[in-house]
């Protein structure tokens, strides 16, 4: 008999604010929600910047802060919010049993050092030798650690004392899905009782924009709804996002007297080659599996990125599910906080759990009208996340009454 899986702690940080109240206020109590977009610092690309964080609140030692760059700081900070929310702070025994699965990208490069070296390389008589010399003298030793993907988890262990185990998944958007899925599967099967899972992403980083720009994946026009972008060439607006969840077995949560935000009922992932229609076929199958045996409609939090073909396919699929009465209404999280890559799926599960626990839903932020205001109070919410390049994931969260 599979064990029930509960979400008992949430840490959420974005351009809209910090914590659940701030997000509820911005997304459910403000109509329409007012996204915060930076259109100048990385022009022509707009992005959703992180709100200023008082790092001392979650990363009290300045020495720890100095060992990290913004991405790891955001992750460690947001993980701390989730642990506090779940009532784990100070409980050394439980933190020592808490397993961690983090979805990570790369930390920041020293773009100033890179820039100086590139200028020198252009005129160096022996470029490769010059590169060796300058890297040896210009790279800060600590920066390597700030760049290593698994050092977000490492820093969470150091700062927050989570030491049950530590695993870091890679692979952009789908890594966030896989992280939550593996946690869900392990708890159901009794391979662990309590987990910290999540990810973080910093938008506006020039090193990351370079990587995304060379693939032509960024939206360069005026900010627009993801649902409007496919017809205009498509593209992603990156968002700074931190999302961490404490997930545990129902028995474990009840034994320590914790109430859940929601039940994590199912997570599913797959990966197509993205020939026309393949991603939608995967998602349609996942939707059937997740909602099996139930005819009442679910609300959907879509992770659509605005990439042309994928977002068009997802929109068409969701429109068909709405027409069939299986989906009540849709919200694209990227329209309010941007695309947070590895953090996207954990953030959607967090927002879904938030809406269920507050017995309400979010206001549309979509000038195309695809997102309808009506839909009532959902009891079940499906989160979709398709990678910009690869991966199709879906999760179902349900109200616990």
């Amino acid at each position: 008999m599979a064990r029930e899986v509960w979400i008992t702690g949430i840490g959420l940080t974005s351009s809209l604010g910090e914590g659940l109240d701030a997000h509820w206020q911005a997304l459910a109590e403000t109509d329409p929600p007012q996204p915060v977009v930076d259109t100048t610092s990385a022009a022509p690309f707009a992005f959703y910047p992180m709100v200023p964080l008082d790092l001392d609140k979650q990363i009290p030692r300045r020495a720890d802060q100095r060992q990290m760059e913004p991405w790891q700081r955001l992750g460690a900070y947001t993980a701390g919010l989730a642990l506090a929310d779940a009532g784990l702070v100070g409980n050394a025994e439980l933190l020592g049993q808490t397993h961690m699965v983090i979805a990570a990208g790369a930390g920041e490069r020293d773009t100033a050092a890179d820039g100086e070296i590139l200028k020198g390389l252009a005129t160096a008589a022996a470029p490769e030798q010059f590169l060796n010399e300058r890297l040896s003298s210009d790279l800060r030793p600590t920066l390597f650690l700030a760049q290593l993907p698994n050092l977000l988890a490492g820093n969470i262990s150091i700062v927050h004392k989570v030491t049950g185990s530590s695993r870091t998944f890679l692979g952009e958007e789908i890594s966030g899905v896989s992280a939550v899925e593996v946690v869900w599967r392990r708890i159901r099967a009794g391979q662990g009782d309590i987990f910290l899972v999540g990810g973080a992403s910093i938008a506006g980083r020039k090193d990351m924009i370079l990587q995304r720009a060379i693939g032509g994946t960024l939206w360069a026009g005026q900010p627009a709804s993801v649902w409007a972008r496919p017809e205009k060439g498509g593209g992603t607006m990156l968002g700074s996002l931190g999302a961490f969840l404490v997930i545990e077995s129902r028995d474990h949560a009840e034994a320590r007297g914790r109430q859940p935000y929601a039940r994590l009922s199912s997570v599913s992932s797959d990966q197509s080659r993205r020939r026309p229609g393949e991603a939608a076929t995967n998602a349609a199958r996942q939707f059937d599996e997740l909602t099996e045996g139930r005819s009442d409609p679910v609300a959907v939090l879509s992770g659509a990125t605005g990439m042309g073909d994928a977002t068009r396919e997802e929109r068409d699929l969701l429109a068909a599910l709405i027409a069939a009465g299986r989906v009540s209404t849709v919200r694209a999280t990227a329209n309010v906080v941007g695309s947070g890559i590895e953090a996207t799926f954990p953030a959607q599960i967090a927002l879904g759990a938030l809406a269920l626990s507050r017995k309400g839903f979010f206001k549309p932020a979509d000038e195309t009208g695809f997102e309808k205001a009506e839909g009532g109070v959902p009891k079940r919410i499906v989160a979709t996340t398709w990678g910009i390049w690869r991966g199709e994931g879906m999760g179902l969260v349900e109200a616990v009454d």
Partner: protein, 423 residues
């Protein structure tokens, strides 16, 4: 068959490996058991101004791009081909289970940055703005995809036809072990009857060498490359960075038997414990490393006395080897002095992300052949480390239970426990 906790037993039915010693299990095993080193002078890039000029690069694999992700993929493909062929599982391009792949972090490399900069508009003041401006105009699909973290696993999944979304992962130098652990867990859950676990890492670039150098992690014994990696010896002075790839086909023991597969070994235990002490150093009391070893033995449901060989993490850094010996003694006790323990890294160097998987393959081969590969370059014992390191010469021994350790930066500790096939 079920284990002591009523879980399906996990069998290994295929293994494949590539290191600086060569391609394939046979060549690697011959070299490893004859005490040959694959460490050599770096010739992939100029070594001027580098403190460390040696490595265990795989120089016989070439790719058109020549970049870390392309080489990492190529090595991973070769190891996987060998493992799947040995297991005789599925049909070509159709592996009946999920893929777990340990990969190194990859990114745009210096030659590419230089090319972009050379094509840039000098009127743009910020260097990265210049690069981005060029990037937008050229739209290089391969550069984009191959520098995504999902790239290597996606290519492997496509080529070998694994099921579902592949999982790419890193736990630094414990990554290979973690990939195997994920496969073990999936089979124990009954999610799948088979899993493909791969660790691959061909990321030795000038910048990688410099970064590890700046952390004082690398051996500077450049004069005689073959003698630089000297785990457990008194004059050890760091690890030797290296490349490698390994793949293991894991299966539910019963379903493997049912299809007539040859069982190479079983995985009895897999566990980990994170350290919260420091980004690159273990807790002085060894409690996290000890916890990882203890959890693994407990997961396997055996007594420490059952372990008859230890495949050491054995990096050759002053810190690791001392900590590993101390932690093993805490778990195994006085008997540790008589348990053979050797470090493959003395010959192949530290294959980083791949190490846990590469050393898992060699652990299995140790049991299959009854021959323990040596720790070479062991000429000056460290009086503080009393271990039977199988010095310099391979040794014949009946080995039926192997503990393999993997530890990494970021407080990563993961161990695996292999057993010979139950007769």
């Amino acid at each position: 068959m079920q284990d002591h906790r009523g879980r399906p037993v996990v069998a290994i039915t295929g293994i494949g490996v590539v290191t600086s010693l060569g391609q394939g299990l046979e060549d690697n095993w011959a070299a490893l058991t004859s005490g040959r080193s694959g460490i050599h002078r770096i010739n992939r890039f100029p070594i001027e101004h580098l403190r460390t000029t040696i490595a265990g690069t795989i120089d016989f694999i070439k790719t058109e791009a020549g970049t870390a992700p392309s080489l990492t993929l190529a090595a991973g493909e070769r190891a996987t081909e060998e493992a799947i062929a040995m297991a005789g599982i599925g049909t070509p391009g159709n592996f009946p289970g999920p893929l777990f792949t340990a990969i190194p972090p990859v990114e745009m490399e210096w030659p590419r940055r230089r090319d972009l900069f050379a094509a840039a508009d000098p009127a743009i003041t910020d260097v990265y703005d210049r690069l981005i401006d060029v990037a937008c105009r050229i739209n290089d699909d391969f550069e984009y995809k191959s520098t995504l973290y999902g790239y290597v696993a996606e290519q492997l999944a496509d080529r070998f036809g694994t099921r579902g979304a592949p999982i790419s992962l890193t736990t630094a130098c414990a990554s290979g072990a973690t990939a195997i652990q994920l496969g073990v867990e999936a089979i124990r859950r009954g999610d799948s009857d088979a899993a493909l676990c791969v660790g691959t890492d061909c990321s030795v670039t000038a910048e990688a060498v410099i970064r590890f150098s700046l952390l004082s992690a690398l051996s500077n014994s450049n004069e005689i490359p073959e003698q630089a990696s000297k785990p457990f010896s008194k004059e050890r002075d760091g690890f030797v960075i290296a490349e490698g790839a390994a793949a293991l086909v894991l299966e539910n023991y019963d379903s493997a038997k049912a299809r007539g597969a040859k069982i190479l070994a079983t995985i009895r235990g897999a566990a980990e414990k994170a350290d919260d002490f420091h980004r690159t150093r273990s807790k002085p009391d060894g409690s996290a490393v000890i916890g990882s070893i203890r959890n693994t033995i407990e997961d396997a449901g055996i007594e420490p006395s059952a372990i008859d060989y230890i495949n050491a993490h054995g990096t050759g850094t002053p810190e690791n080897d001392k900590m590993e010996a101390m932690s093993l003694e805490a778990v195994i006790g006085e008997r540790l002095k008589t348990v053979p323990i050797s470090s493959n890294k003395s010959m192949i160097g530290h294959t980083l992300t791949a190490a846990g998987a590469v050393e898992a393959v060699f652990s299995v081969q140790t049991m299959r052949t009854g021959r323990i590969p040596p720790t070479i370059n062991y000429t000056m014992p460290d009086p503080g480390i009393e271990l039977d390191v199988v010095p310099n010469q391979a040794r014949d021994a009946h080995v039926s239970v192997v503990l393999s350790n993997s530890f990494g930066f970021g407080g990563q500790n993961a161990c695996l426990l292999f057993a010979a096939e139950p007769a």
